[in-house]
């Protein structure tokens, strides 16, 4: 191609400090087809863009290369600029001289050499670019929220209040999530249920919110604006329309051996149950692994006592297929398993508990009706030791490398509440650091120390040893005094790390949303797009994206809702024209491409093909460009090279490689 313009950006000193931009311009001029090359301090600025537009117009440029930052940052900016100047936006290529060059090199010579090579590759590619036109796709004005905890509820409420329909899919029998299990909330100590349950009721009562509880995502297809989702409504064995929520069935159920999930397994629940009294919907489910009737065919007591006739042992899982324009992931967290942290004796002693278990013990609706007592003998503890960072900031062979963020604050809360209610109990907290960045957080922690006399010890616990008398000997270290400590405790509370709900892996795969090494969902940009997944139309709310407390979760939930509303408010979306295109003459019709396509965009048709004079009917691949997202999986699977990606053709990529290797 003749008529290529190259524009090298200094990015202030970001690029110019490690790359000799003048040299890049000089070298670019030598490349075949380049008729214009210049450098400027900020190409993305108004003045920079004007330079590009002027050059396009005056020199009648056919394609341009902008040597600047990552295309994720400003590709759209420069495409718009080119379009305004009359050039097809897909005749723009970006050479990433910042993230992939200047930021990782120290030596200016090395940096410049690489910058020249990157520019050369982009010039080689743009020479083979063709004009592309985006298509249009529709937007289904309905959102899906996966997860019915506080994050999901808040996101759904905000979207619904803005006037759009929302479905919440929650895998447990009730919405409410982990927040429903908490007793009090920091830093104000207001009762968790008191602030959560009204929101649960609001969500259930909202005319534009539809709840799918006890349901899971089975399959996702489609793309931004037009997702199709299969939801598995698990069999409840209770007719939701008939049930009045009277609760008689739960009282009468003779099978009461299942551990209560809501009470962290500290007491039992019947086979037919609602997780907690304020559950929404207030319709029980039958746990098929526990129900005698479902297991052996004998019993049927709940059915006999149900005046509403709501029990239905024949119910089956049901798959509902719905369309959505946007999907919000709000799958929340779990507490890590403590199997690799045996030094804390969690599995050896009933009196070593996690903080979430303590929440239930402290709660009036919990297994001990709110009385602080040892689970082993029901006695009131006199000495309680809290251990922080259990599996957080930890060697990856044992736990998680990250800070779980909420533990410092809830431990201060627990310590304070215990000292307030039971002033005779000694409370010791072992910590690595106390992290309290948040409004009124440090004041809260200082109150625990100063007003409530909680004994904070900087240091870690090496071992918790259960003693024959039932007490627990805590071996720790006081780093400030440089002393080893042995404290006899009758209860040890572990601030176990949080981790993303294990269900998120499957959901992320279905949504083709990326996750990091710790299974947290990745945001599109850590600073500038924190509630969007890199996958268009998928948004993030709550701990699935990273550890956070309730106020942060609620703000992020609102932010995600705004992004969803911004999307749903559009009637049409422009589709990416960089889609797969088969060469019918070469297609074998083997089916490999359709097999690997995550979007169901490829189908097969028998077509009459004129192959250099030979007319015959052949089975060939056909791409639905509205469904194709340009991932390129088909192009690398196709053995004959039939499939090519527009804008990223095999020829273009090989030209880049050749230019780099030259």
């Amino acid at each position: 191609m003749h008529g290529i313009g190259v524009f090298v950006c200094h990015c202030g000193s970001n690029i110019a400090a490690t790359v000799d931009v003048k040299k890049v311009v000089e070298m670019a001029r030598l490349e075949p087809g380049v008729v214009h090359a210049e450098e400027y301090q900020y190409m993305c600025s108004e003045a920079g863009q004007e330079r590009i537009a002027t050059a396009i117009r005056e020199k009648n440029l056919k394609g341009i290369v902008v040597c600047s930052c990552s295309p994720r940052m400003h590709e759209a900016t420069f495409r718009k600029c080119a379009e305004k100047a009359g050039l097809n936006p897909y005749m723009v290529e970006i050479a990433n001289l910042r993230e992939q060059c200047s930021w990782i090199h120290k030596d200016i010579e090395e940096g410049t050499e690489k910058a020249v090579i990157l520019a050369r590759a982009a010039i080689a590619k743009v020479s083979l670019n063709t004009s592309l036109l985006p298509g249009e796709s529709r937007v289904t004005k309905r959102a899906l929220v996966i997860g019915g905890g506080i994050a999901g509820i808040q996101t759904a409420l905000d979207i619904a209040d803005a006037g759009y329909e929302v479905d919440i899919v929650e895998k447990t029998p009730s919405i409410g999530g982990k927040m429903a299990q908490l007793d009090k909330t920091f830093p104000t100590l207001d009762c968790s249920a008191c602030i959560l349950t009204p929101k649960m009721v609001d969500a259930a009562a909202h005319e534009r919110i539809n709840l799918y509880t006890y349901s899971e995502i089975e399959k996702v297809s489609g793309f931004v604006g037009d997702f199709t989702v299969d939801i598995r409504k698990k069999a409840r064995y209770v007719n939701m329309d008939k049930c009045t929520g009277c609760g008689v069935c739960m009282e009468k159920c003779p099978s009461k051996k299942a551990l209560s999930e809501f009470n962290s397994g500290l007491n039992n629940r019947p086979a037919i149950y609602t997780p907690f009294a304020q559950a929404i919907p207030n319709v029980p489910v039958i746990d098929p692994t526990q129900c005698t009737k479902l297991k052996t065919g004998k019993c049927g007591i709940c059915e006999r006592f149900c005046q509403a006739g709501a029990i239905d042992y024949t119910q089956k899982d049901e798959i509902v297929t719905r369309k959505y324009g946007a999907i919000v992931v709000a799958t929340g967290f779990e507490i890590i398993k403590l199997d690799n942290l045996e030094e804390y004796a969690y599995s050896q002693s009933k009196d070593v508990i996690t903080s979430l278990e303590l929440e239930r013990i402290m709660n009036a609706a919990g297994p001990t009706k709110g009385h602080l007592e040892r689970l082993s003998d029901g006695k009131a503890p006199k000495n309680i030791v809290f251990v922080q960072c259990v599996g957080s900031r930890c060697d990856e062979s044992k736990g998680k490398p990250y800070c779980s963020k909420i533990c410092c604050m809830y431990t201060a809360k627990h310590a304070m509440l215990i000292r307030d209610k039971y002033p005779d109990v000694n409370v010791t907290v072992f910590y690595i650091d106390v992290r309290t960045p948040g409004k009124n957080f440090d004041e809260f922690y200082r109150r625990a120390v100063e007003e409530y006399g909680v004994n904070y010890v900087k240091g870690q616990v090496g071992k918790v040893a259960p003693q024959p008398d039932g007490s627990l000997l805590v071996h720790g270290v006081d780093l400030l005094d440089g002393k080893q400590l042995k404290i006899s405790a009758d209860m040890v509370v572990l601030a176990a790390a949080v981790e993303p709900s294990p269900s998120v892996r499957k959901i992320a795969t279905m949504l083709t949303a990326s996750i990091d090494t710790n299974n947290f969902l990745t945001e599109a940009h850590p600073k500038l797009r924190p509630v969007e997944s890199p996958t268009a139309g998928v948004f993030l709310s709550g701990i699935c994206q990273g550890p956070k407390d309730i106020p942060e979760t609620v703000s992020q939930a609102g932010a995600a809702a705004v992004k969803v509303v911004g999307l749903l408010a559009k009637d049409k979306l422009l589709t990416n024209p960089c889609t797969a295109k088969p060469d019918e003459l070469m297609c074998n019709g083997c089916g490999s491409c359709a097999n690997v396509c995550p979007y169901g965009a490829i189908s097969y048709e028998v077509k009459e093909i004129n192959d250099h004079g030979i007319r015959e009917n052949r089975r060939v691949a056909v791409v639905n460009s509205a469904l194709c997202q340009g991932c390129g999986a088909c192009t690398v699977t196709c053995p004959s090279g039939t499939m090519d990606l527009q804008g990223f053709s095999n020829r273009q990529i090989l030209a880049e490689v050749d230019a780099i290797c030259r």
């Binding site: 499957k506 297609c587 074998n588 490999s592 097999n595 192959d611 699977t637 090279g641």
Partner: protein, 314 residues
Amino acid sequence: MKELLQDGTVNRVLGWKKGDLPYNPEPAFFKSAEELDEFIYDGFCGANLSKYMIAASALEGKTLVLLKPCDSYSFVQLMKEHRVDREKAYIIGVGCKGKLDIERIKAEGVKGIESISGAEIDGDCSTLKIGTIYGEKEVAYKDAMLERCHVCKGKEHRIYDELMLESADTLDSGRFEAVEAIENMTPEQKFAFFKNELSKCIRCNACRNVCPACSCRKCVFDSTKFDSAQKANVDEFEEKMFHIIRAFHVAGRCTDCGECSRVCPQGIPLHLFNRKFIKDINEYYGEYQAGNNVEDETPLTDFTFDDLEPGERR
């Protein structure tokens, strides 16, 4: 076969015809009963006829095709890839007592071959009696067999309309022994091994042309659309890449029929590349035999949530 041709059930027969030497029969289409006089099926009929069925599927009427047990895997794989039309094929599954490798016979020091007996399929296939210009020689049938027959996948046909002739078990070696030996080499040894083997390649394309998985309408190595066309023998590196690219293109689809190694005039053990892929697929995704049946999910192009993550091993 003559009857089926004469009564019009099939329009042609795809089989083997006598060659000009006692050991080189060749694949052939027979259109009449008279032509069938030249038909032969003996121990030297190693050629896998499945691939010819791609072309035959486009012809008028049915083709009677003779498939050995191992060939039937290739046929099923081609069905799975929509390359052959089952309706256009009348499949006679023929028995197999192991197929012979003339190079092995020659390696026994047998020269000047004039006639060979003992390769007949209805015989006991234990000893080959070879008439040469130097007198009669004997070679044990087993010692003259192709490598692939020693690691035989079994004598059961995966697909057929009719079965003919008996088979004899020939499996007596581990299928992956040679691959394991290479896996145990140091990287330097491996490189030297493959460099040596692949340097023999003359790019005659016989391996590609015979391979039932290499059935693209237009091979990437023949297409001007790619810069790979005829690039393969420009230097030592490209020469190796041809075979490596070919192995990647057939990975997950190769049934291990062994035709590539059988036809290689340079004696390169090309099947080892494919067998390494098969071994890896077995280890990463569980036992898988391409061409076993049409319904099987294909490990390299089907996704399950249990699939291994990069770096994991089963």
